[in-house]
Amino acid sequence: MTSIAKPVVAHPRLKTNALGLTLRDYEGGMSTLCAGCGHDSVTAAIVQATWELGIEPHRAAKMSGIGCSSKTTAYFLKQSHGFNSVHGRMPSVSSGAAAANRGLSVIGISGDGDSLSIGLGQLSHAIRRNVNMIYILENNGVYGLTKGQFSASADIGSKLKKGEVNEQPPIDPVLLALSVGATFVGRSFSGDKRQLVPIIKAAISHRGLALVDVISPCVTFNNHEGSTKSYKYTRDHDVEAVEADYIPVCEPIEITGLSNGSSNGNGHATNGHADGRPANGDGDLRVVQLHDGGTVRLRSTDPSYDPTDRANAYQHISGCQSRGEIATGLLFVDESSRSMHDVLKTTSTPLVDLGHEDLCPGSAALEKLMGRFC
């Protein structure tokens, strides 16, 4: 809580995006979370990313379940659609929203409780279906709303405020997602917007479900010594495995310091291949074309790590985990697989724009259908 709402006045030299809107136009209501909550920084990163992408606010849908994280959809994109669903059921509602309107940017916000305990099945199947959405998992290792019990993502050996030690193995959402077929997996830290914002932009532009696990410290119940999800612990153990840079379709880019760097004149990056194969022998840089025409440039810090190879990614990330490192960055991307729309052949015209005849084919069609069951 704060004693006042955020004053309406903004910096007079605040930039506007392609739609003529400022960052302030992408904000929501005042946060009622604890002061210093990591989730508020994730909210700010979403505001930044959606503003930079120039998303029309009425073309976004904010989806959430229950928990501290799920409250945050109220704090950004105040002019967008939103649905605050039952605990753990955000993926189902999001699937419906995405199926009904391909034109929406579906932004799902969840937490480690909402996703990895009560909603684990929902999450897994949304990933399998490759629902066209960004799924941000604000991960703090505790149930904040119920006063800080361990959640399913708590690491073995992590301590609660009063000293209790977690002995059960954690569910790592990144490894889980890779194992059930995720096509876009990232991990970041609420305290590092330089990394988080480009990942969110690439994730929103990805076709299919983009899971972004964000270590987002609970400043009240899990930011002490002995915690493995504190600001300090995360900073000390964060290893950026893949640096990601999102380049929108229209913006000219300057590539400097690369021997193979070039630009084809209309602003598209040309080094690298759309399927993610390294460009001309540069082992570190991969350029992946996203479905909206933008590209994401991936640079692995370890040359042996290939973020476009699922098995390699799984191996690398679990290796980091065993060393006590938190691998962050855009960890895996596969832009070639089919999304839910392709598989289910959902209508390309949003349901809201379809006429009555298309939505209701009539009794003859119904009888024909029923005839199959006679």
């Binding site: 004053p7 309406v8 006045v9 007079p12 960052l23 210093g36 508020d40 700010a44 410290p217």
Partner: protein
Amino acid sequence: MDPTDVSDPRYYHKVVDCQWACPAHTNVPAYIRLIAQGRYSESYLLNRASNVFPGVLGRTCDRPCEPACRRDRIDEKPVAICRLKRVAADLRDDITEHLPKAPAEKNGKRVALIGAGPASLTVANDLLPLGYSVTIFEKNHKPGGLMRINIPSFRLPAQVLDDECGYIINMGAEMRYGTNVTSLAAVLDEGFDAVFVGSGAPKGKDLEIPGRHDDPAHVHIGIDWLANVHFEHIKKIEPRVIIIGVGNTAMDCCRSAKRLGATDVKVVARRGRKHFKASPWELEDAEEELVEIIENHAPKRMVVENGTLVGMEFDVLEWTEDAAGKQTSTVLRTEIIPCDAVILAIGQDNAFPWIERDLGIEFNKWDMPVVDSETHQSTNPKVFLGGDAAWGPKNIIWAVAHGHEAAISIDLHCQGRPVTDRPPQGMNLLSMKNGLHSWAYDNGFDASGRQVMRHEELTKRFRDLQTEVELGFTPEQVATEVSRCLNCDIQTSFNAPKCIECDACIDVCPTACLTITKPQATEAELRKHLTVPAVNMDQDIYHSDPLPQTERLMVKDEDVCLHCGLCAERCPTAAWDMQLFDLLQPKAGASCHEEVPATV
């Protein structure tokens, strides 16, 4: 880069733009808060501590504070600081018992003040409570100097001036009214320990053009004419009047002329409007009274027929500006504007024919006494100058500021200490935190626009010279205007070791003032790396010690901070705090005799 040194009072002082811009460093936000609380007498007294004429200046100040006001940078217009000052003055109770008093026992030192204008009266105000015997020489029969004889009563009622001069004089100054000092040597011969010259810049400039002296009865010098109007030596003026010059004196002349029977009043300027010296609000007030303002006309001659002034001829100019900003004019044509009288309001000079040149007072090449800009001392250690007398015409608030500084020097001099041994500025910082989300100030932002001063109806204004034009704010206007103040004296204070770099303050700041970023080699480089690059070089940027977790810096651009306290409210570790900054201004007296430490 070293971290910003906030233990130097100047850092936070500069953040309080209005107080920084005010020559007397009046504590504006604090007195506005007192008005907001209805504590008008306390507000008046706080004001009076640095600016001894709140009632006068609440009507007549040149307001250096207002263009500096932060509100001007984030909103359209500054807080109406000057007119709020008048609210406190108008609504105060009898404050006489709270005024400083002169001790019964004098300290044996005698000080002469020449001229009873704002500079001298401020010196008297500061020295009388210390036990000095103060004698004021005044050529007129009432105190106030320029404030009385040059500012018309429709802008400044005599009662307001009488009250505020009285507060000082009634402490026991010896007044020698009707005494035109013609010899400084004679004053010094009376054995004063120090003499302060606060005699103003009383000589109006003349304009030597053909015809100037052909009908002298109809050509007036602005400040002399205003004085004659004040003393009722002049009670009317001809219908068509031309005023030459566009300073604030010209504005007083043209509006006074309207009240003495002129029906067609034109103010004529050599240059374009953006070069006018008059304050914008005084120009507006004159135009509201249907005074015509004519630009780009240079006086050529006065047209006198049969011994009577009938008009003035002007060169009509066109100004061009070269790349270096140098302006040159070309004459397009000449033009005669008919008139019956001319008032010359083109500036004032100091004049010291009464200061003998053998008193040890050095004069410079412009025949002005050499005066130290800090101590106000002349090259005769007993003689000090201040107000317009020191460096030419400024305005009342500067005279007050000079008076305070000169009083410190005179006190040091009389106590046998070097006048350069000046007491330092200090400050107090006090946390405003009341509770988790509660502050000891109103941190909400009021988006209301600046309140417009109510004026007496035009039809009622011209019946006499005494009808005050500005009516003051209504209670509703006061309530709105005080809430527009951003409380810039409630400072954002940062404690780097407590910071956990959660970004909460950066995310919540409504005006994008904050950034956590890597150190840069120079401040200029750092300015480019902020959330919104800090391009206003007049405003400082704060940068902290390295932060504990990443060694980056917390950087704050002071330019458009609203002082809303949200950074401190969202800070989980209280690394940010909102702290009331109170500038401790040195004054003549006790602080001169013992060191005042800067308290942080």
